[in-house]
Symmetry: C2
Subunit: 354 residues, 2 copies
């Protein structure tokens, strides 16, 4: 086994703190990665706080991982020691169900193995994520990072990037279309970058007047204050697609009314409570209320390659792991542009935990 | 003007009663139809009771109309006097917006002119529907009924038929697919007939154990008691498409969980109150919650022709118009297999109202 150190929560109320554990001995299919950067996703916070009611403690979060390959198993062909490798939200799946066969492992019918807080087939325990100095992952669930991308800025592509890229591709967003991105956080800012890169007319809907300028700076063509009935009214029946990144409770019906006939509102934010949907709002223009979850491994690689070609990374604020609890507090206040990324070199200060 | 007689409600609480009014003098584009049969749709009841909060009284409901042409305007080419003609939920639309241009007038961006309780461009009043002895309608919004169909059984095709046919076609339901029809009323029983005719494996979900046998008799391959967790569990993640015809409040989340990845639940029933939708239920398998409204004129004709080819009509109970208030009471109790159709010959008894 490989000794590892990371940051874990031990209960719903405990702050993240240093935690020593072990990674499995690499199998012939495994890649052993020294983690350089890990993004801080809002899901990490929900999971450590037990908001979704199914957290196993200790919980080492983190699923936006970029690192350097330490060693590879004998059957590994994609990497050699010293290469840069990335890991996203999944580290395994059943590999045989129709979803896995079609390359959408995130919808694995047996349930994909998520990077943290999931039953670990190898150890019998739970998976531990990327707030750590290393990880061991099956080659099939590792990704390559284009050489021109900043590694810290690339880390959140593994969740915030693919979570917005995948639905925009699935619903064929592109030139000649008007697209709304609701919420300008970690997911929203990537939604804007991708929708713009795909050629759509991009409108950001935000509850914050001061985020309007940020939206335009990120590439949006327009920014709308969603709390203003006047501003919203001007966009009624006009959007082909709405990407809703908001995970707080919010009025989806006001958004559905902005869709054209046959338009889709896709939720990628994850409100804990059911959202009331007015059926007349759907029926009246054959609208659809949908949801989408991350992306498959092949599509994640496609997204990374697209980012390489278009020089797209996330806008980030780099932090030391010792600042992660403070970062969580700021995350709750949306006080970050637009993603915290932990510089894992800072873990070396935690010698006491080794 | 043409003197007409029908049945109208004069308030939210008044029973339907004889009502004398006038139809416009036919324009060159108009068809003057003597109404032979009119179906009784649950929407009629909602509208006369003011459940949707926008009823103009007196209200003459009825939008499932089959009749005989009395006379045609000079520009009419589709009909001559003596022909059988049908009229559905719409009698006009703007005819120039993208939806009208694409032949989906039900989604007219200016709002289609519905057959009753809509602003009437010709009279300046409101439109009066098919619980009447005649109607005058622009040829563009009239339909032909295949000669082999029973006229009374064909009447409800104009709403219950097209409302179920259109979404099944739009979402490409066919052979190799497993489809659920939720609710076995006027809409549901037609959903079963069409889904079966399109080649799908059809499962009826009903809250009534005794409706199971009816579902199988109508052509369903299976019938499931939706109140039984055990029976529902056996169908988890298995449906390509769910046609939900229920307009009462009901648990849509339990239904969404029955959809396969990328499956759609389409609501054609119209619950008055917003329906709570669990977002995890959508996101987990990229499911969609959608709605659909009747169908365009071209598709309604396509549906009627399909019914002619496959000998499909609605299962009906014929009533005299004097029984319509009693029929409404029975409708509330779902005590009809599966649609009341008014035999308009019975209106001749209302000489006193002429």
């Amino acid at each position: 086994m490989i000794k590892a150190i990371g940051y874990a929560a031990t209960s719903t109320t405990a702050p993240l703190a240093p935690f020593s554990f072990e990674r499995r001995d690499p199998t012939p299919q495994d890649v052993h990665i020294e983690i350089l950067y890990c993004g801080v996703c809002h899901s990490d916070l929900h999971q450590v706080k037990g908001d979704w009611g199914r957290t196993s403690y200790p919980c080492v979060p983190g699923h936006e991982i970029v690192g350097r390959v330490v060693s590879v198993g004998s059957a590994v062909t994609k990497f050699k020691a010293g290469d840069i490798a990335a890991v996203g939200c999944m580290v395994d799946s059943c590999r045989v169900c129709p979803s896995c066969a079609e390359g959408v492992e995130q919808y694995c019918e047996k349930g994909a193995t998520f990077t943290y807080n999931a039953p670990d087939k190898h150890t019998g325990g739970v998976t531990y994520g990327g707030y750590a100095n290393s990880i061991v992952v099956d080659e099939s669930f590792t990704l390559k990072v284009p050489a021109n991308l900043d590694l810290a800025g690339a880390a959140p592509l593994l969740c915030a990037g693919i979570t917005t890229y995948s639905p925009l591709r699935h619903w064929k967003v592109g030139a000649g279309q008007k697209v709304a991105v609701v919420g300008l956080g970690g997911l929203g800012h990537m939604g804007v970058k991708f929708a713009r890169a795909f050629g759509a007319h991009v409108v950001v809907l935000t509850t914050s007047e001061k985020k309007k300028a940020d939206a335009l700076a990120l590439g949006a063509h327009e920014a709308v204050l969603s709390t203003s009935k006047e501003e919203m009214k001007a966009h009624r029946n006009s959007f082909h697609f709405i990407l809703d990144t908001v995970s707080a409770p919010h009025d989806v019906n006001a958004l559905l009314g902005l869709l054209k006939r046959d338009g889709t509102l896709c939720q990628v934010g994850l409100p804990s409570e059911p959202i009331p949907v007015g059926v007349f709002n759907l029926v009246g223009q054959r609208r659809q209320f949908a949801g989408s979850s991350i992306g498959g491994i092949a599509e994640t690689q496609e997204m990374l390659d697209f980012c390489g070609q278009h020089n797209i990374v996330c806008d980030i604020e780099k932090i030391d792991i010792q600042q992660v609890n403070e970062a969580y507090e700021r995350l709750v206040r949306s006080d970050v542009k637009y993603r915290f990324v932990i510089d894992m070199a800072s873990l070396q200060k935690e010698a006491g935990a080794r």
